[in-house]
């Protein structure tokens, strides 16, 4: 009988597998941090002459140099901004007889807030001395107001959130056919609550 006196070697064959596993793990998990932020479109330079807008259709928000928030002409807390903006946008002040009546609005049709969401303009003025953090916070709250209303309508019409629809639309994994449908729906919702956020100077005495 032949005897094997050698000590058997430890099998290192699976070491490669383990290392590959780690490699793939790192490749997959190191997502390069994508930047996020609030998208805005600036108004073009060649401005058309100022449009006369009914005062009730303007919601004035301003920040002064001490970072204090003014809504219309009252000093208010930032926490109230979103609900105030929603109440303004969703007011639907036009009576049913009017052609611009907003059939989907759930506001209390007050005579001091907007006629309908298409006409409603939020005017945001910020003092040069206000801090950017505060400025972004106001922008964020106003976006939140629009998103909440848009989500509500998207839930009602399509059974999903507007924000989620937008995300799916920009997702590379979504199929082209689905995107066409999504785009149509997104435009429909955007049209119901268009984001009329102005940072231009508005003149009170027009």
């Amino acid at each position: 009988m032949v005897r094997n006196n050698e000590v058997p070697e430890v099998n290192a064959g699976s070491m490669a597998d383990i290392a590959f596993l780690l490699l793939i793990f790192f490749l997959v998990t190191t997502t390069i941090q994508t930047d996020v932020g609030l998208d805005r479109k600036l108004p073009p330079k060649d401005t058309t002459p100022p449009l006369p807008v009914n005062e009730r259709n303007i919601f004035r928000v301003s920040l002064n140099k001490n970072n204090e928030l003014w809504i219309e002409s009252d000093l208010r807390k930032i926490e109230d901004l979103k609900s105030e903006a929603i109440a303004f946008l969703d007011n639907g002040g036009n009576p049913i007889s009017n052609e611009n009546h907003c059939s989907y609005c759930q506001g209390n049709a007050s005579s001091s807030a907007s006629d309908n969401p298409q006409k409603a303009i939020i005017s945001f003025a910020s003092d040069r001395e206000a801090t950017y953090g505060m400025y972004v916070m106001v922008q964020n709250e106003l976006t939140a107001a629009y998103n909440e209303l848009r989500n509500r309508e998207a839930q009602r019409l399509f059974g999903r959130d507007f924000v989620e629809m937008e995300r799916a639309y920009f997702d590379a994994k979504t199929k082209a056919k689905e995107k066409i449908e999504l785009k149509k729906n997104i435009y429909q919702i955007r049209n119901m609550y268009p984001m009329n956020l102005s940072e231009a100077k508005t003149n009170m005495n027009l």
Binding site: M15, L23, T34, D39, R40, R128, N140, A144, V163
Partner: protein, 159 residues
């Protein structure tokens, strides 16, 4: 021939003992190379928080502008007034438009319409600087901006 057969009946297997080493080398390479920042910051860049954020589009469609106080180690030279950083240097507001146009010219023509300017502004900066930059961008008709933020509770910006 017979002699050879008797000596060794099998061909020696190729040693795979060094395979793990190679793979580990790759692993370490990936672990170290995947850095996230691509330009060194000369200014403080503590972005504000926001919740209603959208993802920025592809990296090649972005022009970045940083604004903030000079970094602590540079503060003795540059002072503590907010500065604008374009690429790797500090610049004044008037240079923004030329920089943006030159960056735009570097991009392929097909994507020029989709370029967004990402404003990475420290939350301590005054809004005046930002509106000056926006005014410059309007002059060169680059209207898509993104106030780049961190994702988080916006009410923390108040402190």
């Amino acid at each position: 021939m017979r002699n050879f057969r008797n000596n060794k009946s099998k061909l020696p297997a190729i040693s795979t003992a060094s395979l793990p080493d190679i793979v580990f080398m790759l692993l370490f390479f990936f672990m170290t190379v995947t850095t996230i920042k691509d330009n060194t910051l000369l200014v403080d860049n503590n972005l504000p928080n926001a919740t209603e954020v959208k993802k920025l589009e592809k990296k090649d469609r972005i022009i970045e502008i940083f604004v903030g106080k000079p970094a602590p180690e540079l503060a003795s030279v540059l002072g503590s007034e907010p500065k604008i950083q374009l690429d790797d240097r500090l610049a004044s507001v008037t240079e923004v438009s030329t920089y943006v146009l030159s960056e735009l010219a570097k991009k392929p023509e097909s994507i020029r319409n989709y370029v967004t300017v990402s404003l990475k502004v420290d939350k301590e900066v005054k809004v005046g600087v930002v509106s000056d930059i926006k005014e410059e961008l309007r002059k060169v008709n680059l209207l898509k901006v993104n106030y780049t933020t961190y994702e988080g509770d916006a009410f923390r910006n108040m402190q």
